[in-house]
Point group: C2
């Protein structure tokens, strides 16, 4: 008799678990900008040694989410207004291309779930979940695209300004406006108008950038 390969839930490595958890904590703002990451504190938290923690931190550094100095350790990266602007400019360049590529590949199912997420975002009253719902909507649309590297870039760029995005959503009428723009984007996607969806995405990002930078000092 032959056993099926079972494929036991591929237990992730400790370093991956720590990496994911730290990444999430950083982009959700649970760790403040400039806050140092103490290796053995984190190790105790996850019941591991410092080895996987160090590996996780070095990967976070490679992604730009933390920066480290020899013998001083890692701190959560802080972005200047100028750097924030640059990342939004990068997003405004890359993400429309993803949408343009994605629209012809979107299935009816995907459009349906995207519209659901769009509605869920606009319906939410809890500011704590706005960031996740917003991201969820965009990632659903992007998931139809087969531009893996473009998506990788976008994901990292969004990671780096996730905190600012969350701030932008709660400030003034950021949430209301984002909701309107989301509906416009998905309308264009359903209409199969890739160019329009891309342009609306660009404007969506540029708009967020402007409203954000209005509230920041320089740049």
């Amino acid at each position: 008799m032959k056993l099926t390969s079972m494929d036991i839930s591929t237990t992730a490595s400790a370093s991956s678990i720590v990496f994911d958890a730290l990444r999430k904590a950083i982009i959700q703002g649970q760790l403040e900008e400039g806050e140092p990451l103490r290796q053995d504190e984190i190790a105790r938290l996850f019941n591991t040694s410092r080895i996987p923690v160090r590996e996780a931190i070095s990967r976070l550094e490679e992604q730009g989410l933390v920066r480290t100095q020899r013998y001083k350790g890692a701190v959560v990266t802080e972005l200047s207004p100028k750097e924030t602007r640059e990342i939004f400019d990068l997003r405004a360049l890359v993400e429309p291309e993803i949408i343009k590529n994605a629209v012809p590949l979107m299935t009816q199912e995907l459009l349906a779930t995207a519209r659901e997420k769009c509605a869920a975002f606009s319906a939410s009253k809890d500011p704590m979940e706005w960031g996740d719902l917003n991201r969820d909507f965009h990632e659903t649309l992007y998931s139809a695209s087969d531009l893996t590297f473009f998506k990788e870039i976008a994901r990292n760029a969004i990671d780096r300004v996730e905190r600012q995005i969350r701030a932008q959503l709660v400030m003034s009428n950021g949430m209301e406006r984002a909701g309107r723009e989301h509906f416009a984007i998905i309308d264009a996607c359903e209409a199969g108008d890739a160019k329009r969806a891309a342009e609306l995405t660009r404007l969506h990002i540029e708009g967020a950038k402007e409203s954000l930078l209005k509230h920041l000092p320089g740049a």
Copy 2:
């Protein structure tokens, strides 16, 4: 009496040294695509333990230069023609923006050294150094730009297709053509015509992509 700060050569960490060496070996093609990276072999090579090696490898994976499987180790990433095309498309999107931003910031010194490197590239008869000279020229131009994240993206994208770029330079008249295009780009830079320099850069990348994909099977 006061001593000048001396600034003793900040001895880099072992993991950084290993990382840099491996990265260089990969992009220069000394390590074949798909070739596995054995941790203790590398450790012996650098007279260190496997700890810094593992950190270096995890950073390489974060950059997409290797991919790893749990308990199986890391192998040098292989790119399908489709993926190669996508990375060149990414470059064609991002690098013109860097040049457009850089042109107004270029000093006379920078233009002079860039022209020297441009000439050095075209004058070189040794195919082994074409890749480095080509990269050197482009990085010199990009160095004038203050778009740090754009440059980060470009650097990584170039890393990932560096082997293909080298192949493209030696095939057919790739070298001759690249030389011509380089001179055209730097002419536009010296003329202060940022838009033209950007467009020429885009065409330079698109051209390399086309001539490369002509010699590859699918996509």
